[in-house]
Subunit: 542 residues, 2 copies
């Protein structure tokens, strides 16, 4: 027997409709790409989204078509998401920092018909355009006055282009399971894979992130997503803020420490979110200038593990609560958030910090398990580590145009590729990527844990650990370190530094000092390249 409640599909346009009606005057402030600060409201953003939707429809964009964005965080990018989905089309966020071949691959794979591009990325697009045959229309996210001379055929300035449409348009009628957004993962191996979000998954995910134990978003917040809209859905903030009626601040193209500090203070930001590297720069800047944070109350940090020292500095020195989070593009992206449950609360900050350094707990709508290689569930004892697998309302079922590939296990869980422990209170700690974990004599050694310890050595700037094949143990760890400028770390000194913190059999079999370590486009250590380079390396123990 069916319930008798209304059919009210979870559609993205309802979020901006709601914000325009209930929080119409609330501000969205951006540092524009052109330079000056720009101020608008949710009501205006909705109106402009409607124009964009109408203009896209006139362009021939139909439900299900893909529209690419190659843009930083500004009000225009925000309204683009609502306009594109309101026309029934799919926003495809292209990360401009990807390798050129990757950009070419994903735009072609997605068959994007229109691209909205920010000024700084016009030269890149000009270069790639001959290889992007599906693109029919280039729209530069600026006005006529700032429109550059460009080789992009038929390129138009966004402002004049959407002004060709009025706001007399009804959002296209859709099913809540219709596709809304597309984001490709930039894996280190293989071709990028597209995650196709639905209206439903985006709306539910945003509802989840608003909760007090997630980002805790209210009308009294001024929220700045430093995390780009092109990076895993901006951690939902482009939906969650208007849904909760929070003000937004868009940092535009300048994400360096001084610029971030400046906008946090002048715009009285209360909550912000980004990967750790952004916060390294901010903290360094404040350390240098003696600046403090007068308005910021909390900062969400994810994308990669946040060092405990960063958490402690934010919390104890600047009075800003850190929400350590974890997720992935395939999870829309939020998978866990670290808030202190009452049963483990304590006045002992060292102990709290231990918990705050974990990736946190699963929110409602996310289920997880850890398993061994055979898929058997492992205990949640905080020690045993296994493959982390997830299931939920905003978790991927299959990749775009690879629907025939099975990526869920028989219980419907998706393998995150991470290796993690989960403790009795539900706190999860990523210990490694499953492809990076070192399998030594049937046991697993966490490369990340060794790396974190190694960078604690005073002479070490960066560290990477990879498995090297070993005749007896299958694999043994090799520690690769980059020295700090002017320092010369030696093998024995580095190993002695690790010794008190690890089991004896975790000790790397060798240490190699290199001038630099290769990185991915998004700043992660490129271990495939390291494994390639050290493929024939012979350990002294072998």
């Amino acid at each position: 027997m069916r319930g008798l409640m209304q059919d009210w599909p979870l559609l993205i346009h309802k979020v901006i409709d709601f914000a325009a009606i209930e929080h119409g005057g609330r501000s969205v402030v951006s540092r524009s790409v052109e330079g000056p600060m720009h101020r608008t409201t949710y009501a205006e953003i909705r109106t402009r989204s409607v124009r964009l939707a109408k203009r896209l429809a006139r362009e021939g964009i139909r439900p299900g078509d893909r529209v690419a964005t190659l843009a930083v965080n500004t009000w225009r990018h925000l309204e683009a998401w609502y306009g594109i989905t309101g026309a029934g089309a799919i926003y495809h966020t292209v990360n401009p920092r990807l390798f050129e071949d990757q950009i070419v691959y994903i735009v072609n794979h997605a068959e994007d018909r229109v691209v909205l591009v920010d000024l700084p990325f016009v030269p890149l697009l000009e270069k790639l355009a001959p290889r992007l045959p599906s693109l029919e229309r280039y729209v530069v996210l600026t006005d006529g006055a700032h429109m550059p001379a460009t080789s992009l055929r038929g390129a138009v300035p966004y402002e004049e282009w959407i002004a060709e449409a009025d706001d007399d348009f009804r959002w296209v009628a859709l099913d809540e399971n219709d596709a809304a957004g597309l984001c490709y993962t930039s894996g280190t191996t293989g071709e990028p894979k597209g995650v196709l979000y639905s209206h439903r998954s985006n709306v539910l995910h945003a509802m989840m992130t608003i909760a007090p134990d997630a980002f805790g978003i209210s009308t009294r917040d001024v929220i700045m997503p430093v995390v780009p809209l092109c990076h895993a859905n901006s951690w939902s903030l482009a939906f969650a803020c208007p849904m909760a009626g929070a003000s937004m601040v868009m940092p535009g193209p300048r994400l360096d420490g001084p610029s971030v500090y400046d906008i946090l203070e002048t715009e009285r930001v209360t909550m912000t979110a980004a990967v750790p590297t952004v916060w390294f720069s901010l903290l360094q800047h404040m350390e240098k200038t003696g600046g403090t944070l007068h308005h910021l109350k909390r900062v969400a940090i994810g994308g990669s593990a946040c060092p405990p020292a960063v958490i402690e500095t934010f919390e104890r020195k600047y009075g800003v609560a850190v929400i350590h989070a974890w997720g992935m593009t395939e999870m829309s992206p939020v998978g866990s958030l670290c808030q202190i449950k009452p049963e483990i609360d304590t006045a002992d900050y060292k102990q709290l910090l231990e918990t705050k350094s974990t990736q946190g707990c699963a929110p409602f709508t996310v289920e997880w398990k850890i398993t061994d290689d055979a898929g058997r569930r492992l205990p949640h004892d905080g020690k045993t580590f296994g493959r982390l697998k997830v299931r939920g309302v905003a978790v991927v079922r299959s990749y775009f145009r690879r629907e025939d590939e099975t990526i869920l296990d028989e219980e419907g869980f998706f393998d995150t590729g991470d290796v993690a422990t989960i403790d009795a209170h539900g706190y999860m700690r990523i210990t490694d990527r499953s492809k990076d974990v070192i399998k030594s004599g049937g046991e697993w050694i966490s490369s990340i844990e060794l790396e974190n310890l190694a960078v604690g050595h005073p002479d070490v700037a960066e560290a990477a650990v990879i498995g090297i094949s070993h005749p007896k143990w299958d694999e043994r760890p090799l520690l690769i370190v980059v020295p700090k400028s002017g320092r010369e770390p030696d093998k024995d000194g580095v190993l002695e530094h690790l010794r008190p913190h690890i089991a004896k059999w975790w000790m790397p079999d060798d240490v190699v000092v290199v001038p630099e370590i290769p990185h991915t486009a998004t700043g992660k250590i490129l271990k495939t390249a390291l494994r390639e380079r050290f493929r024939d390396y012979r350990l002294p123990t072998a």
Copy 2:
């Protein structure tokens, strides 16, 4: 094109599964019907719900069957909801305070097959049982030791009954749109009408209520729903608390001022919710004893308008934030919540109190409009009042077994039966019930506003205003007052008291003093009876 996210239906059992896994040790404390305090956890509640589901299935209960509860708020009632819905059946909360004929009507209309009944209501059920032929099984919510001698044929004590099943049972597989709960509205006219909640509507509604600008529920909360589970879904708290991992306190059968005060303090409740009358008793009790609230941080008040004096006393005297809310059974029930938006925040408490006395703003998932009798939208200017109509994810589409009756307008909105204003900031104020509003010369006069003013007169204990037909104006207001004990209010004095606060044409045409005013089972003024009684009343102005 469909999105490629997982199919993860929004089912009620996922809430208790989540709580058992992520917040398994979190406490649910109840004042039992038998007397002593009872302590359990979400993990135990889940296990017992599973047993109940299995036992119901063995009883022959199938998906879609209705199981009635006639019970106060305890852990058993809570687990009953999860057990019933986990078996695929529908919990039907029967309010024991309804008139006997209403109870007979709704149990027969619902065709309840099983009833779970608390000890205090066994005598009532014994009396009504001969008129309730659909009931096959009476389960008394107690253990064998407390089982009374009863004429209820085949009655069993709940504890022993569910102990006949183990917890090796899988929740019944369901569609998220399947019916989960049934609650009848106890209207003052006509037969009660059943609202049939779905799993989806209950889960989404709970997600909405958790948000910081709704009830703001977190793991650090200890939440006591004084509002009964049988009263409009306990305002979602039976779902929202386990979903957010908050501790729960169930007040059991004793809702008087001293009992509520005692449990708020001893169980360190941080948030609670109930209708105004509960709070009148609590505040009176504290006034008398000089007690203060050491743990309570916020109180949700709804069901009927909360007098500003109550809001002010909670906030200024006891430091407890009031969340003034409005809703109805047909809305699952939360329709609006009053939180202060930043643009109207001020240090002037008098001005804040003005806003806090409104019913507040619509949360995401609720849409509303006000219209005139012809269905035309009226402006949101805070002055114009019109019929309040709502649409949303947890709003009724049609009543149970009255599916052929159209209750939505052409835009899909449900007429709440309330008359309200909405101001430019989105704050809604109920000014009347649409059937009670007095239509004088084409304009509307709010009976409630006149009543609120009249009870401010020092000699008036209670007041009611009804429309009396008038040859020239169609209707004119008649003010009916009950004097305070030992006082004798006179017509001119009462009218003089109103004069400074109302437009001249709002002035009642007459005042009648009566010893008492009739009420509904839920304590509201029974205006139908008053209109009947004064049907032939001749106004002096007629």
